[in-house]
């Protein structure tokens, strides 16, 4: 193996700037997609536990559709196919006038994909919280909406913090797929550095260290949050 090591490429102009701006886009894509995913996922997950069969069916169809198609294909569908399928005016607007089309479409499709995974976690959380809680709430005169708002969803979120953390870490990693439609995020930037500087090992090491440290940091922080918000009386606290 012959390889000329040169770690200084990582802090030479313009590569350092590329890494920093790439990280910025990665974080931005992840956060916006997470907001979409968490909001829509909570809604879909809730729908799957409602008494109405229509709501349950819509929720189930959504989850199955988004879960069984590769994320990369979904991104392509949103970016390339959606403008063709919409009415002509809207399609033209999407293609020509939408600001930051790559970013917007990447975030939307990543968000919708994340929603189907969050939905499954939220549904599991609501089901774990139990019918007894819901019935007790209904018996005291709360409406179904109030039961979800004040009892089931808060319980579900607290029960599923580890799973939701995991989903956030997934969004963070999946944000790298945005490179396929031209978002200049961290992986795409380090790939460019590898090409331009012929120092792939240094470039990808930098990216790997950044991804891994952020993941570890988030996992560490969320474990503390989890410990604080843990429900009394569940297995994890030993029935205190």
């Amino acid at each position: 193996m012959r390889y000329n090591w040169n770690w200084s490429v990582l802090y030479t102009v313009p590569y350092l700037g590329w890494i920093i701006s790439g990280l910025g886009w990665t974080i931005l894509v992840s956060l916006v997609a997470w907001v979409i995913g968490l909001a829509l996922g909570s809604l879909i997950g809730t729908m799957r536990t409602l008494p109405s069969p229509t709501a349950r069916a819509i929720g189930a169809i959504y989850v199955e559709l988004f879960r069984n198609v590769p994320l990369l294909v979904q991104i392509f569908l949103f970016y390339f196919v959606l403008p063709e399928l919409l009415p002509r005016e809207m399609g033209r607007w999407l293609k020509r006038d939408l600001p930051h089309p790559e970013f917007t479409m990447a975030v939307i499709s990543l968000g919708l994909y994340t929603a189907c995974r969050v939905a499954e976690q939220v549904r599991a959380g609501i089901q774990t919280a139990g019918k007894g809680q819901a019935n007790a709430g209904l018996a005291t005169g709360l409406t179904t909406a109030q039961v979800y708002r004040f009892i089931l969803l808060p319980l579900a979120y607290r029960l599923t913090i580890p799973a939701l953390t995991n989903e956030f870490l997934n969004v963070f990693k999946n944000s790298s797929l945005a490179l396929s439609i031209g978002v200049l995020e961290l992986t795409s930037r380090t790939r460019a550095i590898a090409d331009y500087s012929s120092q792939p090992i240094e470039a990808f090491t930098a990216a790997s260290v950044i991804y891994a440290s952020i993941s570890f940091l988030i996992a560490f922080l969320m474990r503390r949050v989890e410990a604080r918000t843990r429900l009394a009386g569940t297995l994890a606290t030993g029935g205190r």
């Binding site: 590769p70 196919v81 990693k173 590898a194 792939p200």
Partner: protein, 218 residues
């Protein structure tokens, strides 16, 4: 949508099938290699020798914190440097997939084994079985039943994630469809077709796994 051209798809079938073969081959290597590596890692994580345990733990945590796309790039650039000559994207992708999936399969295997209740092992030991016999006759059969559905689900994930080799231009199913769509100016038909094919296969497979899971549970 009115001018959706099915003729394009029919004419593209031979090339698409070639792409699908690459996808299936990658999936197969990813699953078989990933499970083999996962077993080794799981054994290392349960070893009494601390450095082995630490190494396996670090490996699994590290690989699980990296995007698969980055890993594919890693090996796309690294494998030629390591062997000294260009090897083509396929081998790089196979290496990347095995190393990546190994970390995930390791966790599945480990949680399957840890899910077996301690009392089971104690009862085995008390009835005069050796450690190895306990593992082979009591723990592993139960663990295997618990982890089988999860492993199958993960295998479906491997199948879906092979589409990521698009980023290094390896001609799998998606990339073949993408090339044809670009050539004939029919990206809409091609991407929709890819989505439908993946959906049908993954949905049917996951329904089958659900059925199996219910049978195991009952």
């Amino acid at each position: 949508m009115g001018n959706f051209d099915f003729g394009v798809i029919v004419r593209a079938l031979p090339l698409l099938w070639e792409g699908m073969q690459v996808t299936l081959l990658l999936t197969l290597f990813g699953i078989v290699g990933g499970i083999a590596l996962g077993i080794v890692l799981a054994i290392m994580r349960g070893s009494r020798f601390l450095p082995l345990r630490l190494f396996a733990g670090f490996y699994v945590d590290l690989l699980r914190s990296l995007p698969l796309v980055l890993l594919i790039f890693w090996f796309y650039f690294l494998v030629p440097i390591a062997v000294g000559h260009p090897v083509g994207g396929f081998y790089a992708a196979v290496v990347g997939f095995i190393l990546f999936e190994g970390a995930y399969f390791c966790e599945i295997i480990r949680s399957g084994i840890e899910g077996v209740r301690r009392g089971q092992v104690m009862a085995g030991l008390a009835s005069g079985l050796t450690q190895t016999q306990c593992m082979r006759l009591i723990v592993l059969p139960q663990a295997f039943r618990a982890m089988l559905p999860v492993m199958l689900m993960q295998s479906i994930n491997v199948f879906k994630s092979t589409s990521l080799v698009y980023v290094i231009g390896l001609r799998d199913f998606l990339t073949a469809a993408d090339l044809i769509g670009g050539r004939d100016n029919r990206l809409t038909e091609m991407y929709v077709l890819v989505a439908v094919v993946f959906f049908v296969i993954c949905w049917a497979a996951s329904q089958a796994v659900n059925l199996l899971q219910r049978r195991i549970a009952s």
